[in-house]
């Protein structure tokens, strides 16, 4: 996690992109992601798509200048006032709790985390502070994993209905 709490100087766009790219590529090289693709977007942003926990690819959009990482449309069909929507939002925000072990926590000194639901689609945003882009992308990938474990544990029906997980 090079650069974590790394002083006041900001990382350059190129350095940030290199760090994020390297981190994601390491997951692909280790076989965690079954495939990884990258494409540039307007506004000096980059879209990474990777196959991992589900049959549909995950989409992560990185903006080097702002240090923002958006996991776009991570979860579908989160209707208003549903228990799963409420539960997952609360879970995401709880990941910064200081009582969590350091390796499970999102350190707010390094990264801000937020989530939003639009038309039932949940997206998660992490914004790296200063030099913590590598840390931020690592936390983003771990957060996706933790969210899915949470869904398997407490919202099995949601997983059957939206991710073809066996009902049995």
């Amino acid at each position: 996690m090079g650069g974590r709490h790394g002083g006041r100087s900001r990382v350059s766009g190129k350095e940030g992109l290199t760090a994020v790219r390297k981190r994601l590529q390491s997951y692909a090289d280790r076989g965690v992601f079954r495939g990884l693709a990258e494409e540039p977007l307007r506004g000096s942003r980059y879209r990474f798509k990777f196959l991992w926990l589900t049959s549909a690819p995950f989409t992560l959009v990185y903006a080097p200048k702002s240090g923002s990482i958006v996991i776009r449309d991570l979860l579908p069909n989160l209707g208003p006032r549903t228990a799963v929507r409420k539960g997952i939002r609360a879970f995401i925000l709880s990941r910064t709790d200081g009582a969590l072990p350091e390796h499970r926590r999102i350190d707010v000194r390094c990264v801000n985390v937020a989530c939003e639901v639009r038309r039932g689609l949940l997206s998660v945003k992490l914004v790296a502070k200063r030099r913590d882009h590598d840390y931020a992308v690592n936390r983003a990938v771990n957060l996706i994993h933790e969210i899915f474990v949470q869904l398997h544990t407490y919202f099995p029906e949601y997983m059957w209905e939206n991710f073809d997980v066996p009902e049995e």
């Binding site: 991992w52 072990p101 390796h103 499970r104 398997h152 407490y154």
Partner: protein, 629 residues
């Protein structure tokens, strides 16, 4: 129908007189008895199995010499079944070949030893297909035997039940053979046991045309390859590459939060002592997965079985004997975890879960080598994290129990789980004594949370991998037989009552095996979670037209069904009745060696989270809640 015939006045009269008439009829009825032939069979002397022998006797002698510990069958394949029974191998017959094949599977899972199962040609054999599939998914070393008419009449459809069997077990066995040359019967027994006794176990299927089963051999010269098993197979095991052990030591030594996943292979290689030695030497927590639980005690401070949320923190995962491999995401380990896999089958290493290191080895040999090579280490912070996760899990379960007690119109599954654990594992009965057949679907998602495995073979994971919900009463027969005879991992618990858990949907498939439990006086206590529905109903609750597909009649008296088949019966409709019912059933098991059924009346709506939180529960694997892998 009776009412329609009598008319309303008659119906009223029948209702008044009916109860008394029924009572009188019950008093007049002859009691359920076990035929005296059962006792005679127990006392009958066993003749030595020697030349001259039939083909069936040759094969039976191989089974005896190879240590087959039990046979589960229905009538059919008579020559082979009788020849095996006559060797003294305990033989159980039941009501459906599929159920008895499930019994053989569960027997293997409880003992770690080989069991045989048999059915007649045609329908008897095809009735076993689902059970062979379940055993194949669970990696159980069952020996599937079936008769198969004659080679002479092959393809003619002369008589009945003509069929090619081997193609039907394609993909659900390790090895199969239709025996066609009588003189090679012993040789093919060797083929079967080489497969059953080595590597990753799976079913072996042998079918016997009459020309083979009834062939006559006057002496050894009539048989090919008739020699001792030490000449046709070896008990030696593959040992790990020392360089691979060095690399594994490096990975584990450098880890901050290492974890060991102990699965089927640890059980079948009897590697639990080596596992404990490694875990304690390097202070590495252990979590279990697989078709049976208890290789590592749930009471050990290093057990992660009941600490699911700690799994996500592991940074190096040592998978030992994990034959049924999850894909990424099916186990809760995080994306930064690295994996070492120990498996006797090189061809499987690297399947599904990417590895950082693969070690081809017998599980016990590899764990012993690692335990010898690992430096002593301390992971106190990691162990404290596991302890905190365990505490949180226990608190969550207690909350579910308290919530369940508040639902007073039926018995909530959390109450069943907690009461079972309190009675069997936290009361007067030593906690490691009772072997548990953990079946069911929705109910299992609760009971798994409360019950623990404290020694090898204590919990049999019913629906493991194949996901069949119907085998549970069949499994109960196999587990009860294993404990009765004290075979393999059950040696120290011989003769004690066992407990099985199932749901009303699963119960329906194999319920007639209550009679099998009763006729053999197997002291099993079967808890049936009766919520009047298939577990699938809640997903269809808004489907008005289709919903009845998922429903049964309500308040069915499965306890009465048990009583009619010779078991003791209990009907539990309130939480407070659960413990006394368990105590009575346990006493019946002790005093009469008789099975019981405890029909626990629940309701389907308990699966609705918005009405009855916590509703239908999900799961995390590996650990207590796991059953897919």
């Amino acid at each position: 129908m009776r009412q329609a015939v009598l008319g309303s006045a008659g119906a009223t009269a029948a209702a008044f007189g009916g109860a008394e008439a029924a009572r009188a009829a019950e008093e007049d009825a002859k009691p359920i008895t076990i035929p005296s032939e059962f006792e005679q069979a127990k006392r009958a002397p066993l003749e030595p199995v020697d030349f001259p022998m039939s083909g069936a006797q040759v094969f039976a002698r191989a089974c005896k010499e190879e240590g087959v510990e039990a046979l589960f069958c229905c009538p059919g394949n008579y020559d082979v079944v009788h020849a095996i029974a006559n060797t003294g191998i305990p033989t159980y017959s039941g009501r459906h070949e599929g159920s008895l094949c499930h019994a053989a599977d569960a027997f293997c899972r409880a003992t770690g030893e080989v069991a045989a199962t048999s059915g007649t040609e045609g329908p008897g054999f095809t009735a076993m297909i689902g059970a062979i599939s379940a055993a194949n998914s669970a990696r159980s070393p069952i020996l599937v035997l079936a008769s198969n008419k004659t080679i002479f009449s092959e393809d003619t459809e002369q008589g009945i039940q003509d069929q090619y069997q081997q193609p039907l077990t394609e993909g659900i066995k390790k090895y199969g053979k239709r025996l066609i040359t009588p003189a090679r019967t012993w040789e093919y027994a060797g083929y079967a046991f080489r497969q059953l006794r080595s590597g990753v176990p799976k079913p072996v299927h042998i079918d016997f045309p009459a020309e083979v089963a009834r062939a006559r051999f006057d002496d050894a010269a009539d048989l090919e390859f008739f020699y001792d098993k030490t000449k046709y197979r070896t008990d030696t095991k593959p040992y790990p590459d020392p360089k691979a052990i060095d690399r594994a030591v490096e990975l584990l030594r450098d880890a901050e939060r290492p974890i060991i996943v102990s699965s089927n292979g640890v059980f079948y290689s009897k590697a639990w002592s080596a596992l404990k030695r490694l875990a304690e030497r390097a202070q590495i927590p252990v979590v279990e997965s697989g078709a049976m639980k208890g290789q590592f005690s749930g009471a050990h401070e290093l057990s992660v079985d009941a600490a699911p949320m700690a799994l996500l923190s592991a940074d190096v995962v040592l998978l030992v004997g994990q034959y049924c491999m999850p894909t990424l995401g099916e186990f809760a380990f995080g994306p930064d975890a690295r994996y070492i896999r120990i498996d006797p089958d090189a061809e499987d290493i690297g399947r599904n879960l990417p590895i950082d290191l693969g070690i081809v080895s017998d599980e016990r040999a590899a764990l012993e080598a690692l335990a010898d090579a690992m430096p002593r280490q301390k992971h106190d912070a990691w162990v404290a994290e596991v302890a905190a996760a365990r505490e949180a899990f226990d608190a969550e379960n207690e909350e579910y129990y308290q919530t369940g007690l508040g639902y007073t119109d039926a018995v909530h599954p959390a109450v069943i789980g907690k009461e079972l654990a309190e009675f069997l594992q936290n009361g007067d009965i030593p906690r490691d004594r009772t072997t548990i057949m953990q079946g069911g679907y929705g109910i299992a998602r609760y009971t798994r949370r409360y019950l623990r495995a404290y020694r090898p073979g204590q919990i049999i994971n019913g629906a493991y991998q194949y996901g069949a919900i119907g085998p549970d009463v069949g499994y109960t027969v196999g587990v009860a037989a294993a404990v009765r005879h004290g075979i393999g991992a059950q040696a120290d618990f011989k003769g004690h009552p066992i407990v099985a858990i199932t749901g009303d949907a699963g119960f329906g498939y194999t319920a007639m095996e209550l009679e099998t439990l009763s006729k053999y006086r197997l002291p099993a206590i079967l808890v049936v979670y009766n919520n009047n529905a298939w577990g699938t109903w809640s997903g269809q609750r808004n489907n008005t037209v289709g919903l009845p597909v998922h429903l049964f009649q309500e308040n069915l008296r499965y306890d009465k069904l048990g009583e009619a088949l010779g078991t003791h019966g209990e009907y539990v409709t309130k939480a407070s009745e659960m413990r006394p019912a368990l105590e009575r059933a346990y006493q019946v098991a002790l005093d009469e060696s008789r099975p019981s059924i405890i029909n626990v009346q629940a309701k389907k709506e308990f699966w609705l989270r918005d009405q009855y939180p916590p509703g239908f529960l999900g799961k995390i694997e590996p650990g207590l809640m796991s059953y897919y892998h």
